[in-house]
């Protein structure tokens, strides 16, 4: 008998084995199944309820994931050998109820027990997102969640540019971009998605080119349309988060009203000269809170809106606000932290001051707060708003 065989025999006796069916039953009684195989193996399938930590990381990560050392842990590998060594490691850490699943995942599958093909990260993704995966709030699971997420950006302009860059860099799987404009040289001072060479080309094309150069793994869908009451619900379909980086009031109100109707989070940002503001409007979400109309029930009439002559913005301002929007979108997708719900974060660029203003749901808001029919979409008159 080799040293390996002798040790395995000892471990089988010391630790104890259970069949996959028994393990499954113990999970129903509060036990936890831990799949210790490598990511490449898990990519082919893993028990539906399993916690997945590969053998090499097990002792380093288990305490954070399972603080209760009295919990029944059922360790699973492919054939039931590695799981014995892994179970031994857990026992040495102080876990008192550890069993190894005999026959491993192969037998688990053969016995017809539930498994799934998890979303896993390939080698490129593991390298690319290493600094994010190492954050406990994200991890491989959160990263896979981002890969399966869809964010729609309204506008590939001053706010949409930095937002899209960071969302693509962070690994959001699908980015839709609604913009019907072409790149103008005067955009380049702030719209960092576009380059001098892209002047005259559609912004959605230019955006796709830049974003895929940064991260080829992101699917960029260009929607070269004007948002209207007729097309907005069709365009919004299938997205998890809307990032509003539009440059005019009619679009902002359409975006708000559609987000309220569809219960989508509306990650708001707006800039003017040296000032900017950001918030999250998501009355249908888990945090409640106001919609944009609770804050500003109606857009200003043309004669009260800032005139074209006054339009102007320091290019860095949308950079700051757009990246805040990207952060809020990521927090929502990952379900981590406190979103800017019910808070309007205002930045005074010249003063160098952030101020947080409290905003609440207006109990009389016909769009988000009352039980009656939600009013129909409104296509407000388009006039030159400061963009």
């Amino acid at each position: 008998m080799s040293a390996r065989e002798r040790r395995l025999k000892e471990l089988r006796e010391e630790i104890g084995e259970v069949t996959p069916a028994e393990a499954n039953e113990l999970v129903d009684q509060g036990g936890l199944l831990i799949d210790v195989r490598e990511p490449e193996e898990i990519a082919e399938g893993s028990p539906t309820s399993a916690l997945r930590i590969s053998r090499g990381w097990l002792e380093l990560q288990i305490e954070r994931q399972v603080p209760d050392t009295d919990r029944t842990l059922l360790v699973l590998c492919s054939g039931g050998t590695r799981s014995l060594f892994a179970a031994d490691g857990l026992r040495r850490l102080g876990y008192s109820h550890v069993r190894s699943v005999s026959g491993g995942f192969n037998r688990w599958k053969d016995e017809g027990l539930a498994f799934e093909i998890p979303r896993v990260l390939d080698a490129d993704a593991r390298a690319r997102y290493a600094r994010q995966i190492s954050l406990p709030e994200i991890g491989a699971e959160g990263q896979a969640r981002l890969a399966g997420s869809r964010v729609l950006l309204i506008g590939a302009g001053g706010l949409g540019s930095p937002a899209a860059m960071y969302l693509a860099a962070a690994g959001v799987g699908t980015l839709g971009i609604v913009d019907h404009d072409t790149v103008d040289r005067s955009n380049l001072q702030r719209q960092i998605l576009h380059t001098d060479a892209a002047v005259g080309t559609p912004k959605v094309e230019s955006a796709r080119h830049t974003l895929n150069a940064l991260n080829p793994g992101v699917e960029v869908l260009g929607i070269e349309e004007h948002l209207t009451s007729d097309n907005i619900e069709r365009i919004f379909e299938g997205y998890d988060v809307i990032v509003d980086g539009s440059d005019n009031f009619p679009t902002r109100y359409l975006v708000n009203d559609a987000c309220v109707r569809l219960s989508l989070p509306n990650v708001h940002g707006a800039v003017f000269r040296f000032d900017g503001q950001a918030s999250v409007f998501w009355p249908g979400g888990p945090h409640g809170g106001p919609c944009y109309r609770c804050l500003y029930p109606e857009p200003p009439p043309p004669d009260q809106a800032p005139s074209c002559a006054e339009a102007g913005v320091m290019g860095v301002l949308p950079g700051l606000i757009g990246t805040l929007q990207a952060l809020e979108a990521l927090k929502i997708l990952l379900d981590k932290g406190q979103p800017l719900v019910g808070r309007l974060l205002c930045f005074d660029g010249l003063g160098g001051e952030f101020r947080e203003l409290r905003v609440r749901q207006d109990p009389a808001c016909a769009w988000c707060a009352t039980d009656g029919d939600v009013p129909a979409y409104i296509d407000y008159e388009r006039f030159c708003a400061a963009g």
Binding site: A270, Y296, C346, R358, V359
Partner: protein
């Protein structure tokens, strides 16, 4: 009477001779607007209508809270309060 500061964001500064803030003594928000309006009529017209209603695209915050949640234009002011006017902006 309380000594307060009215903060004016850039979109409205052209109506306040370019000022980013104005100081005044007032007991209530409407009184503050009245006093400011004596010198900066165009500014106050952008905040409320001629019949004294807040405009639906401008908000006023006292102590970081929307005055619609407090007592509206009758919200009382305390010494050192910062009154912030926040019009909606659409730039992107």
């Amino acid at each position: 009477m309380a000594e307060v500061t009215l903060r004016i964001p850039t979109p409205l500064q052209p109506y306040a001779n370019g000022n980013g803030e104005l100081r005044a003594e007032a007991g209530y928000v409407d009184e503050l607007l009245e006093r400011i309006g004596a010198e900066h009529q165009a500014l106050v017209q952008r905040i409320r209508t001629r019949d004294g209603q807040l405009r639906p695209y401008v908000n006023v915050f006292v102590r970081r809270t929307d005055i619609r949640e407090l007592q509206g234009l009758e919200t009382e002011l305390h010494d050192g309060d910062e009154v912030i006017v926040m019009p909606s902006v659409a730039g992107g």
